[in-house]
Symmetry: C2
Subunit: 414 residues, 2 copies
């Protein structure tokens, strides 16, 4: 018998009407003699509302208590969706993460799933009962309720699919698949039928918020096929993740985010005798950059270094997540030498071009098309599958559309 | 060291501001070197809102799922109150009912507490940590989350107080104690300083909604002193339950409710020879009444029989809870003989006079003062500690005030 894990996101269970609709989708799938396990997010904006409430009570809410608080959101949604299924005559049973056997590490607020004990879920399937699992949560070995961090319900769904050896994991959301770029931004964006895990991973990390990156890693590592599809158009097959596109293409899509800031450290030459000035300065400059980068690493800060790192430049350019900016600035300030300067720009958008394999043609095409239109680029990060750079946030739409028009033909002709 | 269990009701934790206020009360008590355990209800009207939501999804929500849904309300409140305590520098830790060791039977929606495993709570107290327990819920021996029914958080608090051998259980609510009658109805109502368990039990069952009757039974059976007091006037000592008033009085208070309906079965004589008519009819009538009463009992319906049961009357008068009315009518209808008639009145209020020991003087005083004012009485139930009867719901305020004025001197002069 087919076995599918189905996950509904917050917008798909936002109110009673939508919960009933989601139950309808499950009923339709069930008709096909499929064994189904459902994973559900909290209703609509519940999680954000609970966080706001917590912050009114405690400026920086206690992590353990916050997890106990937030986990109620998914628990409630699971119970309600189960009622909606029962109401349609489908035998169903809701479970908290703990009840469903989701065992995690003990880092509150960002726990990793360590294993899924499938006994309870298998028993349900044997009895033709649809288990409805509260996503985003689990229980640590010391019996504490934990949550998995943002997008954690995707992780739950894919981990459950892997543990149950499900044929597929369907992620039902409010869009009908993964697009080459956010269609609200890029007028030419089109839906991708298939994507490899690694392409999806880059897309998830650098812009596409539809699917959580950690969830994609688990899917890749456990070879779980994932389909991203719309609750509002259940007949639309969405995007299948796992299979690379039939033909090789060097354009997957474009991501854009405003969650990162541009940080520049301007280095000045140390005192030195004039004679060996250039040589010493260069060596020292490279040494300084290494030093500052390793200081940030030691402080467990997530950052990327621009390509000014390797070339002979007087600056160290960094891309740092805004929520780690304060900490990063502190680390850097404490270690600045006289004459060195720190410059931070929060008003930028990071644009990322994702590719199965980034070619130099692609990079040249991208940079030249932006230059032609007088769009200033700051920092450039180049990896095997991605090219990222900052543009002014006010011009991000323009940048994404220019790049999409320049690069789309590669995929369209494939 | 003193050990006190403190319970906050829904109105005491209705929003962030009130949660902070409740934390302030705990902080004040903690200053007195007291070991504290906190039990908390769901915020404001959360439970009702969740029930409404459930009913939108499933006409008659599944009991198991409803418990999983409702239990989130107290869990969230416990986490938030814990954060508010931590924010004041008080070490605290929240627990679900299951986490706190509240073991229950397996009747979803109305589970009884079977035992409280105190290990976790004792460990907290040893470490000077205030445990904050989600009220109204527990876990059954088969590992299912259960709820205790309306007012269940009172039950949790008192059961925890009993298990921990606490000196007292303080029930913080939105009124400053137990009154002789609802002060919103009876203008002369006054606060009772002390009440015996049995008086409180009758008051709780027949009108005073401040404290749950089952909780009072546990308090009585385990000899837990209970203080009902106001979150908004924490210096007010409220009402102490457990100690009978210093002098014997035959007036405790007056309760009123509109949760019950008056049901009358009019009995007609069966065919019989004219000669022995009266004797046969009387015997048969008494037999019929017994028969109908036992049918209702077998159907597990909660009802009371009016004093027409024992006297020579052609009617069987019953007082039946409105939420069991449909079922009761079905049972009675199916068993009516030709000529017998069923009469139901939903528009009545039940007024109950509670006394340490009901005297015939009290009954005469009550009935005559209502008659003098042309207030019609229907049905009369008389027990050792209570006299209940129906008056038209539209005249309940008048009835309660008349009775209060007539009877209050007994307690006031004591």
């Amino acid at each position: 018998m087919n076995r599918i894990v189905v996950k509904f996101g917050g917008t798909s269970v936002m109110d009673a009407e939508r919960i009933t609709r989601a139950a309808g989708i499950v009923a339709e799938l069930k008709r096909g003699q499929t064994e189904l396990v459902v994973v559900v997010s909290a209703m609509g904006h519940t999680t954000d509302e609970l966080i706001n409430l917590a912050q009114k009570v405690q400026t920086k809410p206690n992590d353990r208590e916050l997890d106990l608080l937030l986990s109620t959101g998914e628990q409630a949604a699971a119970a309600l969706l189960t009622m909606a299924l029962e109401s349609r005559g489908i035998k169903a049973r809701s479970f908290t993460g703990a009840g469903a056997g989701i065992l995690t590490g003990s880092t509150f607020g960002n726990a990793r799933i360590e294993s899924v004990q499938t006994e309870v879920l298998e028993l349900c399937l044997q009895d033709n009962v649809v288990p409805v699992v509260a996503g985003f949560q689990g229980i640590s070995t010391d019996g504490e309720i934990t949550t998995l961090g943002r997008g954690g319900s995707d992780t739950t769904a894919i981990a459950v699919a892997a543990a149950l050896h499900a044929e597929r994991c369907d992620i039902y959301t409010d869009v009908d698949g993964i697009y080459t770029a956010d269609p609200r931004i890029a007028t030419n964006a089109f839906k991708l039928e298939t994507l490899s895990y690694n392409e999806m991973l880059e897309m998830a990390k650098y812009g596409a918020q539809v699917l959580n990156a950690r969830a994609v890693e688990i899917a890749r590592d456990k070879s779980v096929s994932v389909r991203v599809r719309s609750t509002f158009e259940p007949s639309n097959e969405g995007t299948l993740i796992g299979r690379p596109p039939s033909k090789f293409t060097d354009f997957t899509g474009i991501g854009v985010d405003t969650d990162t800031a541009f940080v520049r450290v301007s280095l000045n030459p140390p005192r030195s005798d004039a004679k060996s000035y250039m040589r010493v300065f260069r060596r020292d400059r490279s040494h300084r950059k290494n030093k500052l980068v390793s200081l940030l690493s030691s402080a467990h800060i997530n950052f990327e270094v621009g390509c000014t790192f390797n070339i002979v430049a007087h600056e160290l350019d960094l891309c740092i997540e805004k929520n780690e900016l304060e900490k990063s600035i502190e680390v850097l300030r404490q270690n600045l030498r006289t004459g060195e300067e720190l410059f931070v720009d929060m008003g930028l958008a990071r644009v990322s071009i994702i590719s199965q394999e980034m070619s130099s043609t692609c990079e040249i095409d991208a940079v030249s098309s932006l230059s032609k239109n007088n769009l200033p680029i700051k920092l450039l990060v180049r990896t095997a599958k991605r090219l990222s750079f900052f543009v002014p946030a006010t011009r991000k739409t323009e940048a994404v559309n220019l790049l999409h028009k320049k690069l789309e033909r590669v995929r369209l002709s494939a």
